[in-house]
């Protein structure tokens, strides 16, 4: 539970991902950047699960995609097991792919509808040459499906013949196929019915113990995060505003944004929760192309003082293991 463990599995240093906004096509002029991720630091220890929460558009998914190297970060370092992967070539990444996997949000679109489940799960095993023998591979695929709570018969099905929860299990089995150490769960349960969410969260928990996995759990649903994660980082407009152990954060939120987030949950009725407009603080989320100066939260912040408009607050360790990026928090 300690962020300062000797050698973290993943270390993200000053990560930034800016998407250029251009005009024109041939003689394109850059007219600005979308600062999707703008200077993020955190570490994840081995066997740990870090929750990354925030409103949609806050940059949490982009952070995850950078770590998976589905995007090439603009600046910053991503150290995976001590090795900087932020600018690794395509070839260098191949080895990484076996150690780091992803579970996507939408179980309907993350599976190729033209492939049978068995092929979906078996394909990475085949491509990476883990198990060249087709029969043994088939056995392994069925095992994986069973591990993920699916009948082995599903190997011959197409995704469209299955339910959402079943498909998400296939997505998990696929992620496990290469026996990775680290899995990015990108809103892995938020598209599912609440009852199914619990099943999948339990499955993820089981798998973590069974295979000694490390998760980066990206979510906007704080209740799920509380159940699964050891530590939580809260993002707002491309930056981490607060990071702490899960109970500490929930019991004692220090950043006004976190406070607003927590005040908005939980709502007992899951159906209302699922459909509720998730907008914890008053006012609109500013545009990431032109973020507010100083503290990005200041236009919406109840505590804001004049200085907040000018100085960008740094993450301070206000309590042991509890970091906050707010000059007014105590």
């Amino acid at each position: 539970m300690n962020a300062g463990a000797a050698s973290p599995l993943l270390e993200v240093k000053n990560l930034a991902m800016h998407f250029p906004v251009t005009e024109g096509i041939v003689l394109s002029r850059k007219i600005g950047d979308v600062k999707a991720v703008d200077g993020v630091d955190f570490t994840i220890g081995r066997g740990e699960t870090l929750g990354l929460v925030g409103e949609s558009g806050c940059g949490k998914t982009t952070t995850g995609r950078c770590i998976l190297r589905l995007e090439k970060p603009t600046t910053g370092q991503i150290l995976f097991d001590g090795q900087d992967i932020s600018h690794m070539s395509r070839k260098g990444l191949v080895g990484l792919r076996r150690r780091m996997q992803v579970i996507f949000q939408d179980p309907y679109s993350s599976l190729n509808p033209r492939m049978k489940v068995g092929d979906i799960v078996g394909e990475p095993i085949k491509v990476h040459g883990v198990e060249p023998d087709a029969r043994k591979r088939d056995v392994r695929v069925r095992e994986l499906l069973q591990v993920c709570g699916l009948d082995a018969k599903f190997a011959d099905r197409y995704p469209h013949e299955m339910s959402g929860g079943q498909r998400q299990r296939v997505g998990i089995a696929r992620a496990l196929a290469l026996d990775p150490e680290f899995i990015v769960c990108d809103e892995a349960v938020s598209a599912l019915d609440v009852s199914i969410q619990a099943q999948i969260v339990n499955l993820l928990e089981d798998l973590r113990e069974r295979f000694n996995l490390t998760y980066l759990f990206i979510a906007h649903d704080l209740s799920v995060v509380r159940h699964l994660c050891q530590r939580v980082a809260v993002m707002y407009l491309g930056r981490i505003v607060e990071m702490a152990a899960v109970d500490e954060l929930f019991d004692n939120p220090l950043h006004p944004y976190t406070q607003a987030l927590l005040a908005a949950v939980p709502i007992p009725d899951p159906r209302v929760e699922a459909t509720r407009d998730f907008r914890p603080a008053p006012g609109e989320v500013p545009s990431p192309i032109n973020p507010p100066s100083g503290c990005v939260f200041h236009p919406r912040c109840p505590l804001a003082v004049e200085n907040c408009k000018r100085a960008r607050p740094v993450l301070r360790e206000l309590r042991p293991g509890h970091w906050v990026a707010c000059s007014e928090a105590h």
Binding site: E23, G24, I25, V26, L27
Partner: protein
């Protein structure tokens, strides 16, 4: 919007250069040259000295890169060269023929619009009735009929019918005069080819109108309009047709661009002295300069028409805005 148009025009440059390179290479892949054709056309006596002199004079002996660079270079200064066959400026050759082709293209477009939009709309409104089926079969037949065959058959039909009726075969005059000079003569020359081309064109447009109408009719706001109790006629005119016109406008534009190139066969059939026939002549004579110029013209018309269509599209549909 202004920036968008400029950008699109700039994008056309590589397309034009690419087309230039392609036509340049293709024309030179064809064995033989304009000099051999010219000096040999009389029979089998080909005077080698005359051929050599001709090649020298036309610069066909220059290195191929020199030829290409000079071709491109001259285009940047709007110098389109001299026809290798006739020795006349290419601009003059084209300017003489362009009005004929444009007239046919414009008339065909008018015919297409006048026929296609009402029929396509009716077809959509009476979906899966016998009327719809008839309209669709007529439309698809228009696309399925080779235009040269239709042209030939229509000429012969006119000749045969007038012969049977009057004992003397009648056909339209064959030497073109402009509409301003003699409108009746002009129209009697152009009517048949414009109808032939227009039929195919209207068939394509009719199909598009129908499917666009069907699609629009299924959308929510039409149902809303209906539920509000508007008279169906108004719904169709105000809402559906206006929205269905978007893809139809695109199609009309794109087809217009194809039309110029597609006139090749029709002008051949009707002996019209237009761009299409000039194209065939230029290619047959291996008149590289003229062929290149005509190709560039066709590509340019295509590019510009596409641009106009896109701009029109944005103008008609307020949802689309280009940054």
């Amino acid at each position: 919007m202004y920036r968008y148009i400029v950008t699109r025009l700039l994008l056309a440059v590589p397309t034009l250069v690419g087309a230039a390179a392609l036509v340049f290479v293709l024309m030179r892949l064809i064995p033989g040259d304009v000099c051999v054709i010219r000096m040999g056309s009389g029979g089998s006596h080909v005077s080698q000295a005359a051929v050599d002199a001709c090649r020298q004079q036309l610069g066909l002996n220059d290195h191929i890169f020199v030829q290409f660079l000079s071709f491109l270079g001259h285009y940047f200064t709007f110098d389109f060269g001299i026809s290798m066959w006739s020795g006349r400026p290419v601009v003059q050759e084209i300017a003489t023929r362009l009005p004929v082709s444009l007239q046919i293209a414009v008339m065909a477009t008018l015919i297409a619009v006048v026929i296609a939009i009402p029929l396509g709309t009716i077809s959509a409104l009476r979906e899966n009735t016998w009327l719809d089926h008839v309209v669709r079969v007529v439309a698809v037949a228009g696309i399925a009929t080779p235009s040269f065959w239709l042209g030939i058959m229509s000429i012969v039909l006119v000749l045969d019918i007038t012969y049977l009726a009057t004992g003397k075969a009648w056909m339209p005059p064959i030497d073109y005069v402009s509409f301003w000079q003699d409108p009746i003569r002009n129209l009697s020359i152009v009517a048949l080819p414009a109808l032939t081309v227009g039929y195919r064109y209207s068939a394509v447009t009719m199909r598009m109108t129908r499917s666009a109408m069907l699609e629009v009719m299924r959308e929510d706001y039409i149902r809303t309009a209906r539920s509000k109790g508007l008279i169906e006629q108004i719904i169709i005119n105000r809402h559906a047709l206006k929205n269905a016109l978007l893809p139809v406008v695109t199609l009309i534009g794109i087809e217009f661009a194809f039309l110029i190139g597609g006139l090749v066969v029709t002008e051949q059939v009707f002996n019209l002295n237009g761009i299409g026939r000039l194209f065939v002549q230029a290619v047959q004579n291996q008149d590289n300069v003229l062929t290149q110029a005509l190709t560039m013209l066709v590509v340019l018309i295509f590019v510009v028409t596409n641009l106009v269509v896109d701009v029109l599209y944005a103008w008609l549909d307020p949802r689309i805005r280009y940054s």
